[in-house]
Amino acid sequence: MSTRTLPPVNPTTTAPPAPSHRPAGPGPSGPADPEPGRAPVEGLPATAPLARALGAALRDALAADDRVVLLGEDVGRLGGVFRITDGLQEAFGEHRVVDSPLGESGIVGAAIGLAMRGYRPVCEIQFDGFVYPAFDQIVTQLARLHQRSGGHLRMPVTIRVPYGGGIGAVEHHSESPEAYFAHTPGLRILTPSTAADGYLLLRQAVACDDPVIFFEPKRRYWERGPLAAPENPPLPLERARVALPGTDATLIAYGPMVRTCLDAASAASAEGRSLEVIDLRSLAPLDWPTLTDSVRRTGRAVVVHEAPVTAGLGAEIVARLTDACFFHLEAPIGRVGGYHTPYPPARLEKAYLPDLDRVLDAVDRTFSC
């Protein structure tokens, strides 16, 4: 495991303070659940698909704090188009699990107002490609109100966005818009790749007093995994995880590409090459100590994401790692990702998406310098 020179900053290891405008006196004085993720996942088996883990996290968050409110299109009666919120309206009522009018700007704008009144809204944007109508509210309002108000307002708003391709969908249903948000100060960006992180990170997101864009890898929704976090205590929300330790090169991935990279590492291992796989989990902020520690050890790295390579998150990671690890590098850091085209129609997406072969190709290039 990596070592760190600084202890991680973790807003959830201590109970987040109550919003500054809350009066003393009767009523809840902070989250009823100071250590989300530590609670047992009741009523669920030891393993579950990511989608079920996310649903369990929302259910437990709603139960733990009656200031948590879900807003989104079709999240109530239908349970969401991916059924993540299945059964929640029945359990918590239509006023806490709100079927919203259709309008993403309205969902985020209303969530901001609810947060100002002391609530902790969790928004669902139905698909990645529909987040753009809410882009203005997220970038010009949600991300800035804490600073604009001189620190007086807090925006504990979580925006869940199913993202990524590989599901054979029509246009606007397979995109990876995370770089737009990573470029914006004032937001935290999380993306789980496993069921355990689906539960843990979503609980941490809801408990966090900063706005969180929570990207869910929709093509991994039905992949099953253990629900309990492998670490005890669980990782803080801004820490990356070494998903697979290795010695020869580092694969840096997140969300849907973590599985792809683990498969690539498994194939490489058959060829006698030991690849380390890092699951970023947090895209903003990025966990530089974990990344630099790994790359300084291996001397080689490839960043993998579905989003277009051009001006993508990989560009930032490569630039920063090159700066921090320059004298440890054996080769330029590689990037594998989408091409600089609109996401293709379903029958072409297999060729567009990074896969095991493209990842291993990029790894080979780092050994041919």
């Binding site: 600084l6 991680p8 900053v9 807003p11 987040p16 500054s20 405008h21 809350r22 009066p23 006196g25 009767p26 009523g27 009656d66 200031r67 409110v69 239509e94 006023h95 806490r96 919203s100 009018p101 309008g103 700007s105 309205g106 985020v108 704008g109 209303a110 969530a111 901001i112 107002g113 609810l114 947060a115 100002m116 009144r117 002391g118 609530y119 809204p121 203005d136 509210q137 010009t140 309002q141 800035r144 109100l145 804490h146 600073q147 604009r148 108000s149 001189g150 620190g151 007086h152 307002l153 807090r154 004032g186 935290r188 966090c208 007093d209 900063d210 902020p285 990025l286 530089w288 100590p289």
Partner: protein, 437 residues
């Protein structure tokens, strides 16, 4: 047709004519007492004087920008005084008099426009959100806040502050007298003690003076939605937006949400005729207040230069919200007498005679004519002196404002500063200090 030729109906609900005569209206009666009217006059005069001072400070290089409110004093003071201290207000960016009515020190607005902060004040201290420069974004925030007010009722305990009912109040003078029913506390005769009412008889249902007739929100639309307490003691939300903002998608989404959930919110549209150089006619082919009926809630146009009517109509709308009867759109028909901002030159796009016509409708002169009937020159001189004092204090305080520390822009980006942000700030400081050595 010049502005002066406009039919009187065009100005909407009017209780105080430009010649200073109070008139009766079939639906709305004055709610401001004689003392309140005097206080409103002082507040409007002060707002205008502070506005002039701020423009001068900008011209002298002391402010980065100023956003003049001249001409909109009645719309701002009248509407702000209709709100209870427990109500929450969302300004746009020209509502300085609203902010000052909420008890925000005048300097706080100048601190922003001097360039020291993008907002700065604690919204919860005065139940007043920070300014919103991206048009109509605040309309959705207001609706969300109003949904939270509804949820409070469901939770049977306040999510935030009932304490605010009184907290901000001590800073506010001339608070509204209505807390229960939208009825007049005074007839105009009682309140003035002399007959200035032109028509002695009550009007009998002339709703044509109302642009966008009030109607009840269809009950079915909001059945089962948690209500504000039925006795009208709940919180209402008042949000300001301009005629230009009415064209924004967010305004329309806010109307949809507010109507759908019966949210306790009043949309106060200040139609000052110009969105920088774009006339209101480019925003809408119908009077803006009429838009409301398409969304399923009442819309009323009110003479925005008539502080009495603005106060009465806004009070009625807020009272509806507090009683759980849903949203209302109030269109205050007024005029931006100055430029959009100190960077603007209105002579490039609008005729000077238009300004002259509106000058004759001036909100402060109008109230002054009414008050002159029983107040002498000494009283007016005292108000002018108060305004002068306030302006002098504002200038002094503005010039004394310290610049924020150079690394202040790193503050409050996130609630918990990340390692990365801390490191970046440290590099910035080191770089800055390298020039000191």
């Amino acid at each position: 047709m010049g502005v002066g030729d406009r039919p009187e109906e065009q100005y909407g609900v009017r209780l105080l004519r430009p010649d200073g005569v109070l008139v009766e209206h079939p639906r709305f009666a004055p709610l401001l007492g004689a003392e309140d009217l005097g206080s409103c006059y002082g507040a409007m005069l002060r707002a205008r004087r502070l506005d002039e001072e701020a423009t001068a400070l900008q011209r002298q290089g002391e402010l980065a920008l100023w956003i003049p409110l001249r001409g909109q004093e009645a719309a701002q003071v009248g509407s702000a005084r209709a709100a209870l201290t427990s109500d929450f207000m969302f300004p746009s960016y020209r509502e300085h008099a609203v902010a000052w009515e909420r008890g925000l020190p005048p300097l706080e607005v100048l601190r922003l426009l001097r360039g020291g902060t993008h907002g700065g004040w604690d919204p919860m201290a005065h139940n007043l959100a920070n300014y919103a420069l991206v048009l109509a974004t605040q309309a959705l925030h207001a609706v969300g806040y109003a949904l939270g007010v509804q949820l409070d009722a469901l939770r049977s305990r306040p999510a935030t502050l009932d304490v605010a009912r009184t907290a901000a109040g001590n800073a506010i003078v001339g608070r509204p007298r209505i807390e229960e029913e939208a009825v007049a506390n005074f007839t105009a005769k009682q309140l003035l003690g002399h007959p200035t009412i032109e028509r002695e008889t009550k009007g009998v249902g002339r709703p044509d003076e109302l642009v966008g007739r009030p109607m009840k929100t269809p009950e079915g639309a909001i059945v089962g939605r948690p209500r504000n307490t039925g006795d009208g003691s709940g919180t209402a939300v008042l949000v300001y937006l301009g005629d230009g903002a009415m064209s924004q998608g967010d305004a329309n989404e806010a109307f949809v949400w507010a109507a759908s959930f019966g949210a306790p919110v009043v949309f106060f549209c200040t139609n000052n005729q110009w969105a920088i150089s774009t006339p209101a006619a480019r925003q809408s082919r119908v009077p803006l207040a009429e838009r409301a009926s398409g969304f399923g809630f009442p819309g009323v146009r009110v003479d925005g230069n008539d502080v009495v009517a603005v106060h009465s109509v806004t009070s009625w709308a807020l009272d509806r919200a507090r009683r759980g009867e849903g949203p209302t759109l109030v269109e205050a028909y007024t005029y931006r007498m100055g430029p959009h901002t100190t960077s603007d030159d209105p002579t490039r796009y609008r005729p000077a005679d238009e300004e002259a016509c509106w000058r004759a409708l001036d909100p402060i002169d109008r109230l002054g004519r009414l008050l002159a009937a029983d107040r002498g020159e000494a009283w007016f001189a005292a108000r002018r002196a108060e305004a002068e004092d306030a302006a002098a204090r504002l200038r002094e305080d503005t010039l004394a404002l310290p610049d924020p520390p150079p690394d202040a822009f790193f503050d409050d980006v996130l609630v918990t500063e990340t390692d990365e942000a801390r490191a970046e700030r440290a590099r910035f400081r080191a770089y800055q200090e390298s020039f000191q050595a």
